[in-house]
Structure formats: structure tokens, C-alpha cells
Symmetry: C2
Amino acid sequence: MPFAVFILGNNSAIPAHGRHPTSQVVQIHEQQFLVDCGEGTQMQLAKYKIRKNKFDHIFISHLHGDHYFGLIGLITSYHLLRRDKPLHVYGPKGLLEIINLQLSVSNTTLYYELIFHEVKSESVNVLFETDEYIISSFPVKHRILTHGFLFKEKRELRKINPDKIDQLNFPFQIIAELKKGNDCEWEGKLLKSNEWTLLPAKPRSYAFCADTIYHEELKNFIAGCDMIYHEATFMEESAERAVLTFHSTARQAATMGKLVGVKKLLIGHFSAKYENLQPLLSEAKEIFSDTELAIEGTQFAL
Amino acid sequence: MPFAVFILGNNSAIPAHGRHPTSQVVQIHEQQFLVDCGEGTQMQLAKYKIRKNKFDHIFISHLHGDHYFGLIGLITSYHLLRRDKPLHVYGPKGLLEIINLQLSVSNTTLYYELIFHEVKSESVNVLFETDEYIISSFPVKHRILTHGFLFKEKRELRKINPDKIDQLNFPFQIIAELKKGNDCEWEGKLLKSNEWTLLPAKPRSYAFCADTIYHEELKNFIAGCDMIYHEATFMEESAERAVLTFHSTARQAATMGKLVGVKKLLIGHFSAKYENLQPLLSEAKEIFSDTELAIEGTQFAL
């Protein structure tokens, strides 16, 4: 089942060097989710031929403009395109008020239902859940209330051992128990779960850590993640500025990647002062070699 | 002295076919003005290497998103770039409230002064004036309160006749009177203005007619214009839809160009349904041959 992240924007506050503000598409199984929606996101979707109507859930990490100024344009385009299915938007208090004000000055009543979910507290919140995966928010540390988002597959049932499939003439209930890992009796014979079934694939998880100052407690929320996106606005030479602005350096992002033991670390939210991003990548790789730049138009599969 | 219009965006509500929502730069003499500011305008400015810090005055025609969703991004970028000169924004009631709400949720106090000028009534208002030119708003007819903007050079003083320049040994006050067109007496001699001075260049004018349904009264506000931009959202085959949405067809835009007797008509605000714009141009040219498509990245000089 696919599980991948596609980068639409990777720059910090001021668009520069052809780079756009933050936005990512997270595809998990059959569903696509939009994470943050900086100015121009709908044009970036068009550029990369991603159908915008696929999104039913949009997650906004915080209310700095480079993370949400493109949302109202997308909401309006959905309206003009006569969208009729509901749209769920998850974000901090204040976002709905902004949307409603902008709709009211243009006398717009949306054709579709916009369901706003306020990401309220600073603790972990389950935002959306299916049988297959769960999406939750976790707090990070920034100048204003900001959340990261964790996309996590659920543990699947054990799979039938393909070598045994021809002998599988038991009732459905017995098979279900074996898939759950339980041994069963059937017609006086003990059926061992670990003979008839195999371990399922390990559930995968991805964490988008939003804009954040480096802080070790973050690892508690993203422990065991296969891939994380951690901002790297600055290089270590600007570490002081990173602290002042509640951002991180490439070295700090890599330190978090190493601490969590992820398979892959994506860094992004690059300051406009860096035209060439290779020095940020090099700085991170010195600490954690499995780092990649979150280059726009690139997909990273888990 | 330069007087020209540069197109940053020419599409109607939904960005499509690589076209962007409405925004234009009007350069008049030494000053550049921004007219409308759809989503992505700051990226378009960067793309065409137009320094955004040159603008001190931004005019917003109305509060449909494709004409102003890019404004808050530009305002925020100015802040992040530590702009220190005032910015004047002219637009309908409601715009300032939206800006202030978006600044407040991010705890932002701008480094510079943002001076908002509400374009209040539907009559003609002088918005900005220098010795050389005057910028005013005029009403158009759209679904919500909408204004066009007229950029008009003032009549200059007459110019000293270069053939006479060596004999020009009169006091400054006499010369000033002659330049105003007044005959003068000096040492018992009659000095005729039309001998000592020549007619100045005819003042030029450009009208941005915003989003509007076709209505003949518009000509009263833009009479004598050298160049106008008139929207042409649809072709004549969709004339009914144009009326319903308070937009115009290419044929109607051309009819207005002909009625006013402009030297050049620019058409824009094209519906996303038209990938190829040539049919719109052909339709307009059948009525008024001096029509041009407002193609993004193109400059039109007066």
C-alpha cells in the first residue's frame, strides 16, 4: 500500500529562488492529505498535476502566513468548481474566523460543507482515524501555538502463510482467530497461528514536525517514526537567530533524526538567505547521513 | 516619461493553464503602482524581476479573492524584509479588517505603517495626486462593490520654443506666464505665448476597468483614454453566463474600446474554460482591431 510524501513548498516565510512556502501532500493507502497550505499551493498542485479535488482533509500547523495563506484560495476554487463533498480543515483557533470573514466580504456561501476542527490543546489529539491508519497532532515549540502531525499505520492482522493456503479448509471464524495471532482447536487438532499465518508488515509512520525550535522532548511524540520532516531554517552559524525566531538549524534537525533513529529525515523550511541548499544538507549529513532536502516536486516513499 | 502597464496575472477566479489571477503594475513616470493582487502576485513579481519594494501604493478593485488573496502575503513579506516606509492600500471596506485579523493571529505588529484608504462611495474619487498625474477610482458594475482605476497625466506647461531659447532674457515670472499660455508685456514689447512656447505633449491616460458587466455608462468615466483594460471573461457564446455573473464577453469589451475610441484595448480575466485565448482575441478584433490579449509578462506602453 502506498505511503509517501510529496513536497509542494519548502521555503520559509519569504518566497525566494523559485521556492514556495510550506505545503506537502501525504498519501497514505488510497487517501491523500494536504499538510499546510502556503500561498500558491493550488498553483503548485496544478504544476505537479495533483488533482486538488482528491483532498477531503487539510491540516494547518499554525497561523504564520507561509503555512496557510493559500488555503482561502483553495477553498474558493473548490466552491467555484462546485465541489459537493465536505472538506475537513484542522487548525488552530482563529483560522475559521479568517475564512468566514473572507467569504462574507464576497457574499459567498460555499456549495459544500466546510467542517472545521480546532486543534485545541497542546497535547496529542487524534484528528482522523480509519481501520488502517490514524492521524494525530502533537505540540511543537514555536512563537505561536503550533502542532506537528503524525501519520501512522495501524498494526495489520497476520497474513495467511501462502504455503498453507491450499489446506485452509476451516471456518471463517477460525481463520480470523489465527490472523489475530491466537492458536485454535479444530476437529481435535491444534492449529498454531505462527504456522498458518505470517507476521504482517511493520506499520509505518511519518511525522511532519512543522516550525519548531529544537527541543529534545519532541522525540517522545515521534518515537519509532520511519520518516520525519524537521524544519532546518538556518545553518548552525545562525544558531542564535534560530533560537530567537523559534526555528532550528540543519544540524539540530539531524540531531533529532539521529535521536529518534528514523530511516529517513527530510529537512525543509529553508531561509530565503540560502540560494544554494547543499551546505544545509552537508551540515545535516555530518550528524545523520540519511538526510534529504525536501525539494519541491519530489516524492519520498516510506 | 514612461507610462506603461505590465501584466502579472490575467486569469479569472480559478488559476488555470499556467495563468494567474489578476494583478498589474502601472508605471507612470518614476513611480510604479500595483493594481489588484491575486494569490501568487509576489511570486510573479519575483519571476519577472520586478522589485516589490518599489510599490508605495496598492489599489484593490474589489473583494473577490482572485483580486486580493495575494495582498496579505506581500504585506507580510514587506514586514519580514524590514520595510520602513509607509504602504498605502486603497480598497473597499472590509479589507483592512481582514488584514488586521490575519496580522493579529500571528501576533504581528508591522515594522512599517500601513495606511488604508477606504474607497467608499461609488462615485469618482481622487486617490493619489502629484504635480504630474492623478489617480482616481470610478464605479463599475459587478456582484459586489467594485471600482476601476484611472491613471491620468496632468496637462503639462507649454515648452520653451527651442528656436527662441537664445533670446530668452526675461525674468522668471514672465517665462512662467508664457509657459502657462499667457501673453505678456516686457519693456513695452508684447510677447506672444504661442511664439515663445510650444504645445506640450498631450496628457496620456490608462483605465483599469476591473471586473464588470458590460454597461455603456462606463464610457463616461473613461472618455478620452489612450488605453484601457476591460475584462473579457467569456466569449459571446456565453453572453448569458456573462450577464448572470456580472462579467463581460470579448465582443463587449471591444465594443467599449470602440465606443471610447481608445488607441489600445487590453482584454483579460479569462475564464479557466479557455485554454487557447486566440478565439477571444479574434472575437474582439472583429469589433475593434486595436485589441491585445493581456498576456502575463507583457508590457504595454502608452
